[in-house]
């Protein structure tokens, strides 16, 4: 696995060609290239993600024509706070790559990411899902509405600061949630994940 590098005569693998193309297109904007378990991740700034995706889709020798997945990861203690992760696949060449952007300034409630819906229509629902569950806004998305939660939901459940047990909702039940920035009623959200001090029922032995 790890010692497949440094072989001089071997032709560049698809992953290497992808990274080379990314460097051609973005130059120094390629922030980081990570290889882990035979998977390549290219980390780029959010402003350039659409340009890179367009280039990868149109590159004649790679042709990433299939957007397998878009998702996000929340790192509440980190700035920028969110990862948006794209899994690309090429049906003609069988190449795979993962792209990642990091967004969210300190205290920014709803960070913005450029949409790739115009490049792959498949991104439509995946981006809606992230908008719904993480609260990231995709600029240029034609139909950015909630997809899983009810339309009048005000919070974003997959964020790490959203308690697993949910909130105790004041009546009326729907639409009566706690808005952003307001303190929770006492006694709610007992099982928040990874809060300092742990929580009852949390089996993480580090705590």
């Amino acid at each position: 696995m790890a010692d497949s590098e440094q072989v001089p005569a071997a032709p560049p693998t698809l992953a290497e060609r992808t990274v080379a193309l990314a460097r051609d297109v973005l130059g120094d904007d390629v922030l980081e290239v990570v290889a882990f378990r035979d998977e390549t991740t290219i980390i780029v700034p959010p402003a350039r993600i659409a340009a890179l995706c367009q280039a990868l889709r149109d590159a004649p020798e790679l042709r990433y024509d299939f957007l397998a997945d878009v998702t996000a990861v929340d790192w509440p203690d980190r700035v920028p706070r969110f990862d948006v992760v794209y899994h690309l696949l090429s049906i003609p060449t069988r190449a795979v790559v993962r792209l990642k952007v990091r967004v969210g300034d300190e205290g920014e409630e709803q960070p913005h990411v450029p949409s790739v819906e115009a490049i792959w229509p498949a991104a439509n629902w995946f981006e809606r899902e992230i908008y719904d569950l993480f609260g990231l806004v995709f600029d240029g998305h034609p139909d950015l509405r909630r997809i899983m939660m009810p339309d009048d939901w005000t919070t974003h459940p997959l964020r790490k600061d959203y308690p697993l047990t949910g909130f105790v909702l004041p009546d009326p039940h729907w639409g009566g949630q706690v808005p952003f920035g307001e303190p929770l009623p006492p006694g709610t959200g007992q099982q928040t994940l990874r809060t300092p001090g742990g929580a009852p029922g949390d089996i993480d032995p580090e705590k």
Binding site: R37, A68, T71, V85, H87, M148, L193, P205
Partner: protein, 411 residues
């Protein structure tokens, strides 16, 4: 409620901008409690007479927060959540999750051959079972009631095999990270061979009932067309993609769990209509049976789990007699294992298409993030392409041909 009305009005106004609009445009709601939406899918349809001019799928009625729940479970516990996504193919979900965790742990190469072959046999049986439910309900939607009863009769045989292995018919959790939960039981091979003997004739019966049936052809041929370009652009996978003529199967393209040792073909359609998707699934059942046969014939001897007490619990008799094993057992069930910091994406070919597990580890005993790329979720996105411009009565045929499971769409 108000928002819904507003959206329906918006839909209507967008239709009104269309120059070809007729006076009798009407917006109707289909589902979520509609027997032919295979769960709780809701469609907002704008009709001109009987023709659908615009369709907006609404999902989320079965959103259970599985991804959120998994973040609070250890890797070992999160396995049972995966059964409950695509509840018609729990073993396929188990396999995808198990492979993702194994990749994260870096133990993929350590999985014994017997476990790999058994996994292949089980997920292929699961594929047949899932396709049987699809076949039965799809035919039922279009008015062929007897196929439904026959398909469920055969599915029961497969569920009996699962019950023999794991003690449960549906939510087996039998495939787990590191191997299988338990060794294959004694009567397994005999029971599967029975099924292999019985099933081809039954499959021919289904073909006799539907494949050349004029009613079936007129309800499915040319209905819900999807071109290959559209299917790829919208992220469709599995039989929907193959029905449109793209020979893409994760089992062939990125072999996992020793699929590279099996000999099978990928059935591919040409027209991308409901009939082709039907045929692709019917032919896939043949191929799956072939794979199960090969798996039984070539089933290696040996362990059914990786020999690593940090990942799989030691046998019970050792726990009772051996101090080390007791410690391993205790650590595994109270704490679990800690994969290194990193992230993996594992794709497998589930009966519905490409199911992908994206796991992020922060070095703790719980997945920091588990995201599931549900094949039904992506396939369902292509539904408006299939049904816009078609008749209202064909909407049901198109929904059936995608084979959605809302548990996986909404997660």
């Amino acid at each position: 409620m108000q928002l819904d009305e507003q959206r329906i009005l918006e839909t209507e106004s967008s239709v009104q901008l269309d120059a070809t609009r007729r006076e009798d445009t009407m917006t109707i709601n289909m589902g979520p409690q509609h027997p032919s939406t295979h769960g709780v899918l809701r469609l907002i349809l704008t009709l001109e007479g009987e023709t659908v001019v615009k369709a907006i799928p609404e999902i989320g009625y079965l959103h259970t927060g599985i991804e959120k729940t998994a973040e609070a479970k250890s890797y070992f516990q999160a396995l049972v959540l995966t059964d409950r996504m695509d509840y018609l193919a729990p073993l396929s979900n188990n396999l995808g999750y198990a492979l993702a965790v194994e990749k994260l742990l870096g133990i993929t190469d350590g999985i014994p051959p017997k476990a790999q072959f058994a996994r292949v046999a089980l997920v292929e049986l699961q594929r047949i079972a899932s396709h049987l439910v699809w076949l039965g309900t799809h035919a039922l939607d279009l008015g062929a009631q007897s196929v439904f009863l026959y398909a469920f009769r055969e599915r029961e045989l497969i569920l009996d095999i699962f019950e023999l292995c794991s003690g449960v018919r549906l939510m087996t959790s039998y495939i787990m990270p590191g191997g299988l939960q338990a060794d294959l039981p004694d009567g397994f091979a005999a029971k599967v061979r029975d099924f292999i003997r019985i099933f081809p004739a039954r499959l021919r019966e289904y073909h006799d009932l539907l494949t050349n049936n004029r009613l079936w052809i007129s309800r499915t041929k040319g209905i819900g067309p999807l071109t290959a370009e559209q299917a790829i652009a919208f992220g469709a996978s599995g039989p929907v993609l193959r029905g449109s003529g793209v020979a893409w199967d994760v089992r062939k393209m990125f072999p996992y769990s020793s699929y590279e040792q099996f000999d099978f073909e990928i059935p591919v359609g040409t027209n991308g209509d409901t009939y082709d998707r039907y045929l692709v699934r019917m032919l896939e059942m043949d191929q799956s049976l072939k794979i199960v046969q090969q798996s039984l014939d070539g089933m290696p001897e040996g362990r059914w789990q990786i020999n690593d007490p940090k990942v799989v619990p030691p046998p019970k008799w050792q726990v009772a007699t051996n101090m080390e094993s007791l410690i391993h057992h205790f650590k595994l069930f109270t704490e679990g294992y800690r994969p290194p910091v990193g992230e993996v994406y594992q794709r497998i070919e589930s009966p519905k298409g490409e199911i992908g597990f994206y796991l992020v580890s922060d070095g703790s005993a719980k997945p920091y993030r588990m995201h599931v790329r549900g094949p039904s979720f992506a396939n369902l996105q292509a539904l408006p392409l299939m049904i816009e411009g078609q008749l209202l009565s064909d909407v049901v045929a198109s929904i059936g041909s995608i084979d959605i499971v809302l548990g996986e769409v909404d997660r």
